[in-house]
């Protein structure tokens, strides 16, 4: 079932939601999950050198607010076989806040410095 589109989110509230992601992700470097700097416009599976699941590499997703909203609602249903074994952020408002935070973070100096690393787009 497609996720209902969410209203514009609050990045400050989204930063608190992002703390859930910090088990596996960081903004500026790869961990168990890939970095989130350079996320918007990046093809899923697109961080050079990161070991993605075949499912994510073959998903043909290009990350945007809309595709992130759909994925984060239910990662395992959205991309069956993804390594992101996580129930998802089921609340649309929380997803909107999280995506707003990620957009803000991507425009921040921390991400501007780190996106010198190569990544695959399109």
């Amino acid at each position: 079932m497609a996720a209902a589109p969410a209203a514009a989110g609050d990045p400050k509230a989204g930063e608190l939601i992002y703390s859930r992601c910090l088990a596996c992700h960081a903004l500026a470097y790869d961990r168990t999950g890939p970095r989130h700097c350079g996320l918007f416009g990046r093809r899923a599976g697109g961080v050079e050198g990161f070991e993605y699941s075949q499912a994510m590499q073959g998903s043909k997703i290009v990350w945007s607010g809309k595709t992130l909203d759909r994925f984060l609602a239910n990662p395992l249903q959205s991309v069956p076989g993804t390594a992101m074994g996580y129930a998802g952020v089921t609340d649309p408002k929380e997803r909107a806040d999280l995506i707003a935070y990620l957009k803000q973070a991507n425009a921040s100096p921390q991400c501007e410095q780190s996106t010198g690393h190569s990544c695959r787009t399109r």
């Binding site: 859930r20 910090l22 088990a23 596996c24 168990t32 395992l76 993804t82 390594a83 074994g85």
Partner: protein
């Protein structure tokens, strides 16, 4: 800064030796109990089993990273007793988690991931003991959220008990680290 004083804290040489890493730990009694009689683990449909093994492998990757992170913390020279002893204990717990997860993945017919040759940690931001504790607390809180997110999606409900048990341990780590930082150890009634 107040925190629980550990009883029977290991002496410094032992602590250092513990940090130098013991692979092939024997499973604790609790971990054995979690896996006991789980011959049915591998008997489920292969798609569901493969999915469960993937979830566990992601958790294992995070546990291996936590082990490495505590190693960096100990070797930074920034942690003083008894905080160093606390970190040794918590690293030991993560080693037990990793051992259980690896054995469970193998039981499911999967291949457990290995520790990376190199991890990226924000070491340039770790200048004080408090910085190290805060970094560790962030990782532990993230781990609580990750296991909370994993528990609903296991196909085999037998795995939920083990994951929830680990989640409980990570939550205790988080609370103790918050307390060591002088923060309210349990800030809310619910965690997400």
């Amino acid at each position: 800064m107040s925190f629980l004083i550990l009883g029977n804290a290991p002496n410094m040489p032992e602590a250092r030796r513990a940090f130098l890493g013991k692979s092939g730990l024997l499973l604790s009694g609790a971990a054995v109990a979690l896996l006991a009689g789980r011959e049915a683990l591998a008997a489920k449909g292969s798609q569901s089993t493969a999915a469960d093994a993937r979830i566990l492998n992601t958790a294992l990757g995070a546990e291996l990273e936590a082990i490495a992170a505590y190693q960096v913390g100990a070797e930074s020279g920034l942690l003083q007793k008894p905080v160093l002893d606390l970190a040794v204990t918590f690293q030991g717990h993560h080693k037990e988690h990793a051992e259980l997860l690896a054995k469970t993945i193998a039981k499911l017919g999967g291949k457990p991931v290995s520790a990376k040759a190199r991890y990226s940690f924000p070491t340039e931001t770790l200048k004080t003991q408090a910085d190290v504790l805060r970094f560790a607390a962030t990782l532990e809180k993230g781990a609580v959220s990750a296991y909370l997110g994993a528990v609903p999606v296991f196909g085999n409900r037998d795995l939920v008990k083990a994951a929830a048990s680990i989640l409980g341990d990570e939550a205790m780590h988080w609370a103790i680290l918050r307390n060591a930082l002088g923060e309210v150890p349990v800030p809310s009634a619910f965690v997400s």
